[in-house]
Amino acid sequence: MNYAFSNPLAWIVLGLVPVGIVLLYFLKLKREPVEVPSTYLWSKTIEDLHVNSLLQRLRRNLLLLLQLLTVFIAMIALFDPWDTGVSSEQDRTVFLLDNSASMQTIDTGQSTTRFENAKRLILARIEEMTDSDEAMLLTFSDRPETVQAFTSDRSRLRKSLAGVSVTNHSTDILGALKAADGLANPRRSSDIADVKDVQVADPKPADLLIFSDGGFQTVTEFNLGNLKPEYIAMGSSDVQNLAITAFSTERNTERPAEVQAFATIENFGSDTVSTTATLTMNGQFLDAEAVEIVGGEQIGLSFAIETEDAASLSLTLEHEDDLAIDNIAYTGLTPMRNVSIVVITPGNTPLKVGLETEKTAQICSATFFSPSYLNTDDYKKRAADGIDDLIIYDTCSPDEMPATNTFFIGALPPTNVVETAASESGSDTTPSEGAAETVTDTEDSSTTENAKAVEKDWKWASPPSAVNLIDIERTHPLMRYLELFSLLIFSGRGIEGPPGTVELVGADVGSILSIAPRDGYQDMVLGFEIISRNDAGDAETNTNWYAERSWPVFLLNVLRYLAGAADATGAPSYRPGETVRVRLENAITSPQVTRIGGSSIDVTPGPGGSLEIIETGVPGNYRVEDQSKLADLFAINLFDPRESSIATVKEIEVGYESVSSEDGSVEQRPDFWRWALIAMLGLIATEWWVYSRRVA
């Protein structure tokens, strides 16, 4: 970095100051008149003196010498010529300012955060820039931001620097390095072997000043090239920090009212810390636990809560340490969802009635279609987008499985070879019939490939016959509160599912109700029809289940646990600054997002009810509401041990270079010269006053 001293004009102006003082001094000199007998001899003396009068006047003129000395000191102080510690050969500087969460740390003995200290250091560097120096300001947290491109305008740099603020984000320096790299190390335009080829831009070597606490991953896949790194470590390695690194809730799947909250607390300092962890729910005190954590260790906490409703929980550590943001954690319990289901049925009154009870209507909005709907584009789009929470196929089967959970009644899900088999046989059967046929065909198939394919698919395990129920998986949520042994089933078939299938209801013909996972979704298959058709095509009941009390209860369980109305897990937690995507029901058109204790965030739902929330910089519990009705919950937490580990790293690795921390003490030098200058000016003023009085 060049100083103003390199500018000859500055030297000329500087040199004119003492000359001006001397001139002013003599021009404004007040001379005391003295009467002498004759100036005859004096004039002779003066003539002699005139030969070297200026030097004589300067000689022994203490006042003038003091003034010149003062001005000299002032000039030296202003130019600060000894500030060589931060000088550099480059006239381009890239300021990389870490504004991640760990920079909020207020170190012991400091009154301001590391971020503020770093800003002050950068400001001092900006002030030292000469007119020919250029600088660029980049901030980095989990993403880089070019606050100010290369400029020699110090006021713009100052303004840009004043505008940056610390974030709650995690740290990733690579993006910022790449941004700086792009300017310092231009790539070749084309063939490196071609001697005529020229680079598109001259490389612009620059100093890379990294103001950080080093709390980021080692960057190895990066070549510094023309960048000359300098790491100015902010903060100290002697820190005190207690952090909550995990906090979540989980409902008991069997007893949804029972909620367990789990937290992990880690001590990133070296001393043992005793404190209290306080749990609040919806702002009300709920529980507290005393914790004692040895330095460098972590402990787990768990709280048992009982609530059926949605709730916002926060866990606070009653301990003041260097970094406050990780002393509080948030989580939420999501509400029962309002699910959207599609029922494709040729006609099933019990099903329709069961889905339209008062209780189910609160959590479900069901749409009914006939099987012919399966061939429409609307269905295909709907199935591919997966905008419904559950599709119930009553005695029918689609060509492809939809991107959502399914419930097949008296039919099997399609298989990979179903279409091939169907086309080979040239059958025009309905999908359900085709599916049934396929099972037979595949059973007969001797090819290994088909056998493997079949193994993954659903198939009938027995021919149609009367069914007697034998066993019920009561522990499964879908089977809760169900009493099924009084059922009469006139015709049903045992089913076999793909690997991972769970038998929910066993019968003498095999599994009659099974559930199996499929790419993150779940498929449930019932081995008998509720309403069957006779040869004439008339509907007739195949079971008396619809008349049983267990029928609506079963449907409610399906809605809750298969359609996902009751999510058994807690609200998801995201990192600060992360874009949160929430999927809402189609019914919600004007959602509102608010942070508890904060302001609301404007959002516009996208197609398919998806909602992207970007303003997630502040940790807290966020509520997605629809006309004051809670639609979803999520939490923003730091939960980053790297950020919470606030001890300053002494050496960072950038590219293939290890960069040791530089001492930023040059800028921290106290400006005593100001006081010295004021004292000197005061002395001169006093002396001038005394002198004037004496002469007068």
Binding site: V34, E35, V36, P37, S38, T39, Y40, L49, R60
Partner: protein
Amino acid sequence: MSNREETQLLSPSLLGRLERMELVSRKVFRGRMKGERKSKRKGQSVEFHDFRNYVPGDDLRLIDWNLYARLDQLFLKLFQEEEDLHFYALIDASESMNFGSPTKLHVAKQLAAALGYVGLCRADRVSVQVLGPMGRHAPALRGRASLWKMLNYLDGIESGQNVSLYEGVKDFSLRNSGTGVAVLITDLMDKDGYESALRMLIGRRMDIFIMHVLSPEEIDPPIRGDRRLIDAEDGDSSEITLNNYALQKYKETVSSFIGSIKTFCAKRSITYLPVRTETPVETIVTKYLRERGVVR
């Protein structure tokens, strides 16, 4: 007033001592009247001077008859003629003389009075004059009784007779054609120079004494700092920053000035007598002037 001035100028003890002194002239001048001083002329004093042959027409009373008896030749016995001495004390009364404590003018008056009194006691013709128009009214005095006249005249001298040295001396020379002893009491601070004035006096074939009166303030000025020096005579001003260096230069100038006067005077048989005003006039006259052969 005259009594007061008299005691101011000459103390009784000094008067007593002055009565025993006489002015010394390195040249023997022809006086106008018979006095107490040897003359070039042979005359009727008691002091033998020479013999010469008688020529017809000589006064027979002067023939040495004793010699005629022994040698049988007529010789005239010649005696030294005693005449008076013309003593001129010229006082420079310019404004520059009104400086110092006592003022240079006062010292000049004292010296003039003392020397004049010596002359009066020895029956010399004493004329104490101030340079300038006032000098034209100066009385020519003779005899001890004229002391009061002389002192009265001196009392009447005020500073401010700002004529140049040359003009003053020229005026004096025109009015006084005779030879004699001229004591010029001055500070020689004339911007036109002192040389022409002294040459004028030399041209009159006078025995010239220069009493150069300087005050200690002039030799070693007590002033320091940034000053505007104002000339007491013509109001001319000069700006100067008086530090040790400048003062040193000034002293060198004064020394050089005095040296140049001494050289000038030595070349022209002028007796240069530096006088400092802080020295009592008694000491000057009875010791200093005597040592230098002005009086005896």
